[in-house]
Symmetry: C2
Subunit: 135 residues, 2 copies
């Protein structure tokens, strides 16, 4: 479905930093992590992120102004909305995708006459591990 396109050096570097990370990273955090690899300006990061997002390999978290590597198994979300559960304690992000939920949400919103083309669905709270830790 979403064949991994050829990635350039910069794109590969950005993606690998995101993949080697539990939680999301901001563009400027990425920049700092990539200084040793020759990155000098924000635009180098943003351009790579842009490509990676269009390829579906990276997601942007609007409520954090940060980016995370896609964790969808075999790249599940084809057309379905993707939701994110962001733990405010440990920063971990869980990616959720479900055909049925997508359809129900679409239906709900469409009732108003609105025709959605995209959605931002981000839940904030505590992941299972952090709840256990707090108990």
């Amino acid at each position: 479905m979403n064949e991994r396109p050829e990635l350039t050096r910069n794109q590969t570097l950005v993606l690998s930093k995101l993949e080697g990370q539990e939680g999301p990273l901001s563009a400027y955090q990425l920049l700092d992590l990539l200084r040793d690899d020759g990155f000098r300006a924000p635009l180098q990061v943003y351009r790579a992120l842009d490509k990676l997002m269009r390829a579906g390999l990276v997601h942007r978290l609007e409520s954090l102004n940060a980016f995370v590597a896609c964790s969808g198994h075999a790249h599940a979300h084809a057309g379905d909305v993707t939701a994110f559960a962001i733990c405010d304690q440990c920063g971990q992000v869980i990616e959720l995708s479900d055909r049925l939920v997508s359809e129900r949400l679409d239906e709900w919103v469409s009732k108003t006459g609105f025709k959605p083309t995209g959605a931002v669905l981000e839940f904030r709270g505590a992941c299972a591990a952090c709840q256990a830790r707090a108990a």
Copy 2:
């Protein structure tokens, strides 16, 4: 439920600008609109917005970095999640709130063990009027 607290002059000014507007406004747009009323610095806007958001009178749209006056009738959303349908053509924002949808979403997310305390739900697309106009 959410009795309107006493609002100060600055808070009243910010709220009235938002209420007299079809779509959302950024903090800096608000600042510009309020120069004649003596506003000089972003912080004056942000502080007022902060209070207004905590009072539930204003919402922040994460995907736009902008703010909109609450349009909930009689202040419906007490505990329920609020979703926003943002028209990318005309900028109008529709506020959606539904007990059943809230519960279903909560259920869905909770299945992973995640315990949500808040949510950002923003749909992008075209409102009914703009679809008609495009047809």
